[in-house]
């Protein structure tokens, strides 16, 4: 009757799923390559500030991190609520920064050392007193390239 309906008994052959694994593997490789597993667990709660004039840190291997913020709830019994510094996996004091920077410096080759960057991941609500102490300590350790970690501000 209708022009468009083909009522001859021909059926579509089922779509071959043989190439499905290939597609999935392709995705898999993409994610495997782009994955960076976190090396340290951050023990301080962090809400990074927002900024607009950001630049990206290109070479991850040259960056050492200093985290500053309130200890997460499970650590507050031991370490209290006041903002603390975290280096690697442990809470630390201001005096430990020099050692940390020295250790980080030792881990890099001679050629890489001048372009090392210290990234400060500091919670918005931290008081500047602590941050200034850290900065002074970094100056003493001659780690002058720093990066105030921030999120991209959303345009309003």
């Amino acid at each position: 009757m209708s022009k468009f309906r083909k009522d001859d008994g021909k059926e579509l052959p089922p779509i071959s799923t043989a190439s499905l694994p290939d597609i999935v593997f392709m995705l898999l490789f993409f994610f495997m390559v782009s994955t960076t597993m976190r090396e340290v667990t951050v023990n301080v709660s962090q809400k990074l500030p927002e900024a607009t004039e950001l630049s990206k840190l290109e070479k991850k291997s040259l960056v050492s991190y200093i985290y500053i913020g309130e200890p997460k709830p499970q650590f507050q019994k031991v370490f209290g609520k006041a903002p603390r510094i975290q280096l690697n996996d442990q809470f630390a004091n201001v005096e430990d920064i020099t050692d940390y920077i020295t250790a980080e410096r030792e881990a890099r080759t001679e050629a890489e050392r001048p372009s090392m960057v210290t990234s400060l991941k500091v919670d918005v609500n931290t008081k500047m007193g602590l941050v200034t102490d850290v900065k002074q300590e970094l100056r003493k350790a001659a780690a002058l390239n720093i990066n105030y970690s921030a999120r991209k501000a959303v345009e309003r």
């Binding site: 694994p21 782009s34 994955t35 004039e53 990206k56 840190l57 105030y148 970690s149 921030a150």
Partner: protein
Amino acid sequence: MARNTPEVPATSLADIAFMLLIFFLVTTTMDVDSGLRRKLPQWVDKEQLDDNAEIKERNVFVVLVNRNNDLLVDGDYERVENLRDRAKEFMANPYNDENLPEKEPKDVPYFGQYMVTKGVISLRNDNDTQYGTYLAVQNELVAAINELRDELAIDKWGKAYLDLDVDQQNAVKTIYPQKISEAEPKGKNF
């Protein structure tokens, strides 16, 4: 005659791959760390610190942030939103205002003799200032200089500052240097 081994079914291969895929999807963090790049000044001992380096008052753009996160810019209260324009006006000084910084002629490649500002931005904060405010102020100051550089680059080459080549960028940098100095912290024994 060798017996044919039955073919291994490959249908479950997709499932295995999916499982791996989901694992990596979940563990992936693609955060590229970004932030404000700054350079700290060289460490100087307290004894060597010379307070004699005289800078005229008109050449300094003083930004104070107090413990309540209020801003005092060159003597009057200011909001963070207006800071960028104030800083731009200070660094550019388009009408050679008496109260804004002096300029000195300098030989700049591509530009020839150019009147370069002697202005310096000075930032001081209280120990109880919130880090968020401090960074917002820093951001505005950097933004002001970046905007000035961009404007100059577009004037001269019709391109944004970041699209210039290294020599051109350096020329623009000499005209608008990023001179943001932070006061030595006071009241503590370092």
